[in-house]
Symmetry: C2
Subunit: 350 residues, 2 copies
DNA sequence: TTGTAGGCGTTATCAA
DNA sequence: TTGATAACGCCTACAA
């Protein structure tokens, strides 16, 4: 008899009602005992906890949430075109978010949506209005990013990874690409480079705006003329960098230094240079931005501006959870300096 | 007046009740109209859809789920020790899961838990009993894996990435590591190697069991003696491979070929070899398993048994969704052959 | 210290 | 073709 009871309990979802019934208590008492209220007799509480454990009771998230509680989930929508968001940048970022959340017993909900407003809007609405998440992380911000307005209007907690130091008045972490690029350009100019090229991304992206402007201004400051033919737009991917690299390297008058908006682009350029038989590090300098692991092992190793993406993501989660849980927190905003890591691709040896 | 109404609608969550009220319809009709039942007048349906769209109505997942519906979410728990599950293998895998799910309008819920039974059990229970997910993906299976029994007993749809061809009678995809390792050993034996070493992982893991057994059997078949000092256990990470590599390379009689249970381990060995001034490719052969992107760019490039992790993950999602949605599907199980990619780390040139 | 009862937003059953 | 109503499992104001 008890056996049958147990089997049923295994198969059905055990609800708070089942626990109450077994103990001849009301569901109120069970609920309060489990939630640690202090108006439950200690003996009762023990019995409840014991029984709940034995019966394998877990509160149904959906029900709890419907009562207006949190769902202990944060969300991140990768602004990526299918297939594959296996971009190492996002991988690191998601790893940080996932670990940060898991560390506080939150789950991470992810999906990937091409950064086209309609589709994206729908996805955010589904999550926000459908209350799938308690908070959201935003990355790869764009100029006039509707997401910020939207989330503000919905009063949903969110934080941003601002890959620029352009002010946005939103909790999050920023990385100062302007100073980073300036440092890089100065370094290369000091080594004698005069023919600088830049392979960037869509001008919609804040990171592109900031990095490119800094590139242009730094050249001006150094009194170096910028050849318009040396400015290319790419797509942040290796294949795009490869294409752009071929364009630049097949010019009659080649640039001697190519600065790329990110590491993947730069790795594509290395690939192109190899194909053209150009010795990177001596005949050509190539540099990226991000500091992905792969950049350590390229041929030759890639000079880059490193940003600690994993740690940033973990920190972002901390800030977000503080907002969600209404906890005090030291600072809701911070700006980090990327670290210039010099390697052989710019003729620097470690 | 209407303006105030609109503002309120923006701030509050719009429920099906609001839509019904606005149209002077019952919630029943609205629900059925939106769900595409055919017992709703076409005109009514149009009005409902129109109004719902205008008002920004999205069904609350929690409520729907409470009524016993799906939550359109699949889950994956990374069996990893904190910090960072940024292992490239899992990154690729998660990318595939995320894209596969997004492609079918499902979300992916992820978290990472150290593979210790109690903690892990709790996490799975939370998701399963708390009905957070409609299905689960399992990877890195272990010998006598309680997760399989558990999910079966809960009748929750799940699929496995079986990194061995050991039969498990569960829907999913398997990769034949046995044949893979055998091919690799044969290749190296043919090149004259006789002193084979193996750096593996915990014997709890199916992939280790299969790969190591295949390693041992292949040597036996080739009539090669296996030196017990050449068998090391590591942790699937680069740092572990580095440690184990140092152990092997500091032996008086060094092995000439080191086969690693995965690429990260092998990359650690390359690192150790560099430190010892040993020329990998000529004085020492090193090979891995996985085919991670990084392996292409190591110094020297790494020979590996490639498995298309991203594609496997996408396919797994397809199978899982077919089970969840009770759709017909061609095959619920498949076994793939890893592809031997020969590179310079074993003295092979592309 | 414990219990009763109402409602969160949906969907489903049944009646009109 | 449409509507009233009862759950789903949980939390909590209020009553006992």
């Amino acid at each position: 008899m008890e056996y049958i009871q147990n089997v049923l309990e295994m198969l059905m979802t055990v609800t708070i009602r089942d626990v109450a019934k077994r103990l001849n208590l009301s569901i109120t008492t069970v609920s309060r005992a489990l939630d640690g209220y202090d108006d439950v007799a200690e003996g009762t509480r023990q019995r409840v906890i014991q029984a709940a454990h034995e019966m394998g009771y877990f509160p149904t998230t959906a029900a709890r949430q419907l009562r207006g509680k949190r769902c202990n989930t944060i969300g991140f929508i990768i602004p990526a075109r299918q297939p594959r968001f296996a971009d190492p940048f996002f991988s690191e970022f998601i790893a940080g978010l996932g670990d940060g959340a898991a560390n506080r017993n939150f789950d991470l909900l992810v999906t990937s949506i091409p950064p086209v407003e309609e589709a994206e809007h729908l996805a955010y609405e589904r999550w926000v209005q459908g209350r799938r998440v308690d908070g959201i992380v935003l990355a790869r911000l764009r100029t006039r990013d509707w997401r910020i307005q939207y989330l503000k209007s919905q009063a949903l907690p969110f934080v941003i990874f601002n890959q620029s130091r352009i002010e946005l008045d939103v909790p999050g972490i920023a990385v100062d690409g302007e100073t980073g690029i300036a440092t890089l350009v100065q370094h290369l100019a000091r080594k004698g480079h005069r023919k600088f090229a830049y392979i960037g991304a869509s001008p919609e992206l804040l990171l592109q705006v900031e990095r490119f402007n800094s590139f242009r201004n730094s050249l001006a400051t150094a009194g170096i003329r910028l050849n318009p033919a040396y400015i290319l737009e790419s797509d942040l991917r290796q294949s795009g960098g490869y294409q752009a690299g071929k364009r630049l390297l097949s010019l009659v008058e080649r640039p001697t230094a190519i600065i790329c908006v990110n590491d993947l682009t730069a790795i594509g350029v290395l690939q192109a240079a190899r194909e053209y038989g150009i010795a990177v590090g001596t005949d050509l300098a190539v540099a990226g931005f991000d500091g992905i692991a792969q950049a350590e092992n390229t041929q030759p190793p890639l000079t880059t501006l490193n940003q600690p993406v994993y740690e940033i993501a973990r920190e972002l989660v901390e800030i977000l959870l503080a907002i969600i849980l209404d906890e005090p927190i030291a600072k809701k905003r911070a700006t980090l300096q990327p670290e210039l890591i010099l390697r052989q691709s710019t003729g620097d040896f470690a």
